[in-house]
Symmetry: C2
Subunit: 586 residues, 2 copies
């Protein structure tokens, strides 16, 4: 084998005159004016090789037989390209290799789709994943993925965190989603479960005194796959001892800044802004608002009492909310038809109507403008700090409907009005989520995160009097309106834990049965502790500028959980099942 | 919560006079001369705190109530210890914290075993793993484990390797060991398999042009667990393109040297020595010899013909081998009883006898010495370069029995005679393993590594004439007699691959059925490629100076595959099984 001396991205004009060998794939070939041009590609780049008549008929004929994606070794001399033939879009575009020797390392049939062509349909791409991954754009994704893991591990290690591996063959625990199960051969009728997260193990590691743990961990959920969900996914999992919520956020920020610096060339100012859950729900109708633009929701209940407008009066009588947003410039830009479209769009979130008011020089106009006196119009303008040309949109409905409709209108309008640079990044923390919510169906409270979450110290008395108002020591990192990470401080105090269990409707015996060994660990010298988990695949998607999670995973599964390349899951023979003490259901 | 200002390993005499807060576990407590001493421990160290009478009766009483493993916060002032009270074995042994404030962060019942006491029995340790892992010796193991992953990742990244994650939910493939299976909920009667290694995926990644891949990967084998085997284990998995065997070994050596430097303070000279399989089998009777000592095996067939000794004559007639070793000094040290012990020991490897000869000043002595003429004795002496006081041990039997008996005698004698520093490390490559061996039972050849291994180029003609003599492009890294890593160059040439399949007794159709998608990938532009895998758990064990693999894994399983802490595997309810389309066998 003619082994490479350089990669296809290495050569520069400094190498002119040197004899080099390249190994790679034939990216393209052309026969032009008695010259045979072969572009050779590898992970590092692409270099043009040329077989001139001087090399003889035999070698030229061999070069003419090369086809796309043949694996070749070419030895030759580096030369500058002829003037005017340079390719400024290519790293090696100023030179070529004048070939002297050729070895075909592997021939290949015509690929089912062109590597450098337009993107093939996804089914074909997944089936021939080895060809799909050969596309330079895909290789870039996995270079980003590698670098992201490096940045995470280096910053975590610098922060005194130890990476510790936790088991994949674990025990089924009631964590919400459905477990993947693995039948045990030795223990008939018993099953391992693949972990939905290393949650319980990482808490145990804190009890064990490891102080600061992290792991880039594989997690599994046997759920029906929505778009952008995978049955196995990766998270950066973290846990710390002797901390409160603010400590965890502070400890994470250098890593977040390093990632931003690495992948966007710009680190956010630290500390990142913190917003309380109740505040962002009020201002943006959403617990993970995209803060690259304003368009804040405003409460209009006080102003609504000043109009005869029936819709508002009814809403007030029913204890509903009247809220709105003001979109700058949209009054000029949106036609009547566009506004009907917005009304329809808001209806998909349950609204029964959408009040719109265009802001003119002196007045507000629109079908319902007549219900607003000039004084009230002035107050509305002032509430939104509205300028002529703006558009005010108002919804009167329940808390949930006004939030959902307005947060979605907000996102849509910001996009349509280009209110932000889609390549920009905004990072913030949302904190103090509710600890519990009332589950009317079950007639008990349910945990908002998980049942081991610690209440905010100042809210502890509310556990007795008004549990739904207790705020948790919980925090999410939001990037551009996506939940990039989420975590909580855990409850290490047995008395508080018992109180929470009873609110969740669990007797101490039931709690023991459900959460067995973790409670044992917590009783045996648990330090105050808490953690967080970052969605690794999602961060790759964000920084690679992608929208399909399957493009961020080397060997992903379809929405039906199939690996089209290997055919997994597959059939197995009955001997295997017999050994595992199971049978197929009839 | 009184949050720590320093860890329990931070303080030095430079901090004297400063008010500090420590968080940690009560390591020990004593009440002495009106003073209450509390040693507080965390992952970073241990610091003595003292509650003096000046702090008041109430605080002293609270300190007196502390017990082992309580989680505490103590605030106080750093002071030098009284002269004569320093503890030079402790990093913080020259100082103490004069406590002013105490907060009990968590009380705990008396632990089932003492954290700083002697090691408890393993069952108890595994059940209360959170306490077992709290022992500083165990924490050191996981610090080593973390650092090892760091060294590997940093050297791999510096070498241009990309870490790429491959699926855990894969397809069952015929790789030798038994697969763990995961029933699919969506595809009734179909199963995922947990990977025994990422072998097929990493080859696919080479076809995809990733050029240099690595992954610290979890692997699974549902085998009966011998000592020091775990159902899930970790390996550093590597694959490279456009390489031959020598290239892979060369590429790995900087990482091996970095590990050695990090964990032993001394890097081996590079390149590491390379030995051919046939050579080490001849010289040490073993394909992973411990080269920290000599004690080489010598062939004595030629000398054996010169004696009337029946055992040797019979062996020669039967085409068997006559081989021996010479243990320096053992002639003086070993009694008749010891020698009987060695004879018995060698019998466990199938020998029917063990010839021993003590090397005296002028002669050899021993029960069979009379069969050796003075000339022959002189030749034997010379063959072994034996000195007076040495002991010659000879076995006449088959190749396999002489190898096994003598390699084990060699190891035992080197240990008993202290022929090497047990803390020293020796690194070497063993190369050119046989590609195939004849499987008499099946009436065909069987692959020594896996069926995709590439033969040595110079041995290709032997595929036609004498397949058992074909050497593979295979290489193992041996450290102190342990296989630390093993790999091969893969067969990317369809013609050679077909030939190997036919030797393995597979028709093209059977090969396609068995190895389906990998063959498809190999046909679609596979570059020459090969790789290697390092046993990660084993390397931790080696460098941490441990002998039990369970001590190197945070949450290991017993020999019966049970996690004693969580109780995995556990029962599941029938609803779960119904969803998975399986039933328990009756």
């Amino acid at each position: 084998m003619l082994k490479r001396t350089h990669t296809c991205g290495d050569l520069t004009l400094d190498h002119v005159g040197q004899t080099v060998t390249l190994n790679g794939w034939v990216d393209s070939w052309r026969d032009f004016g008695g010259l045979v041009f072969i572009d050779v590609r590898d992970r590092y780049g692409l270099t043009q090789c040329v077989f001139e008549p001087e090399v003889g008929a035999e070698l030229q004929a061999a070069a003419r037989e090369l086809r796309s994606e043949y694996v070749v070794a070419i030895r030759g001399v580096v030369a500058p390209r002829l003037p005017g033939k340079e390719n400024p879009n290519l790293k090696t575009g100023s030179l070529e290799v004048r070939a002297k020797e050729l070895e075909v390392l592997n021939a290949t049939p015509t690929p089912p789709f062109e590597i450098k062509g337009a993107e093939a349909n996804e089914e074909l791409r997944l089936k021939y994943r080895y060809l799909d991954l050969r596309r330079p754009a895909m290789q870039q994704v996995f270079i980003i993925r590698h670098k992201m893991a490096q940045v995470m591990r280096n910053t975590m290690t610098a922060g005194g965190f130890l990476e510790i591996e936790t088991p994949i063959l674990g025990r089924s625990t009631p964590e919400g989603a459905r477990d993947f199960l693995v039948p045990s051969r030795v223990h008939a009728g018993h099953f391992y479960a693949l972990p939905q997260s290393p949650q319980l193990y990482k808490q145990v590691l804190m009890v064990a005194g490891f102080d600061r743990y992290f792991q880039i961990a594989r997690c599994f959920r046997d759920e029906d796959l929505r778009a952008n969900r995978q049955p196995e996914f990766t998270q950066l999992d973290i846990e710390m001892s002797f901390v409160e919520d603010e400590d965890v956020m502070t400890a994470m920020e250098p890593m977040v800044a390093s990632m931003a610096q690495e992948f966007t060339g710009e680190a956010p100012t630290l500390p990142l802004p913190r917003f309380e859950y109740h505040d962002v729900m009020e201002r943006y109708g959403n617990d993970r608002p995209d803060l690259r633009y304003g368009l804040e929701l405003k409460d209009l209940a006080d102003l609504a009492t000043e109009t005869e407008f029936k819709v508002f009066q009814l809403a007030i009588e029913n204890g509903q909310r009247i809220r709105g947003i003001c979109a700058p410039g949209a009054g000029l830009k949106y036609s009547r038809k566009d506004l009907d479209g917005l009304t329809e769009y808001s209806a998909t979130f349950g609204t029964k109507g959408l009040v719109w008011l265009k802001v003119e020089e002196a007045t507000l106009t629109g079908p319902t403008a007549k219900f607003f006196t000039p004084e009230l119009q002035a107050k509305l303008r002032e509430r939104f700090d509205a300028k002529p040309g703006d558009l005010i949109l108002i919804v009167a409905d329940s808390q949930a409907v006004t939030s959902q409709a307005l947060t979605n209108l907000r996102t849509r309008l910001a996009g349509e009005l280009k209110l932000y640079d889609p390549k920009s990044f905004h990072y913030s923390w949302v904190t103090r989520f509710p600890l519990l919510h009332w589950d009317a169906e079950e007639g008990r409270y349910a945990a908002e995160h998980h049942p081991f979450t610690m209440p905010l110290a100042e809210d502890l008395p509310l556990l007795e009097t008004d549990p739904a108002r207790v705020r948790a020591q919980a925090y999410d990192l939001v990037i551009n309106g996506e939940e990039a990470a989420g975590g909580t401080i855990r409850c290490h105090d047995p008395k508080i834990q018992s109180k929470i269990f009873s609110l969740l409707g669990l007797t101490p015996e039931q709690a023991e049965e459900k959460f067995g060994f973790l409670l044992g660990a917590l009783r045996n010298g648990a330090p105050p502790h808490g953690g967080i988990a970052f969605g690794f695949d999602r961060l790759v998607m964000l920084y690679a500028g992608l929208t399909n999670i399957r493009d961020c995973i080397a060997f992903p599964k379809t929405a039906r959980g199939t690996d089209l390349m290997t055919g997994a899951p597959g059939g197995v023979d009955t001997r295997q099942l017999r050994e595992l003490n199971i049978r197929l259901a009839d």
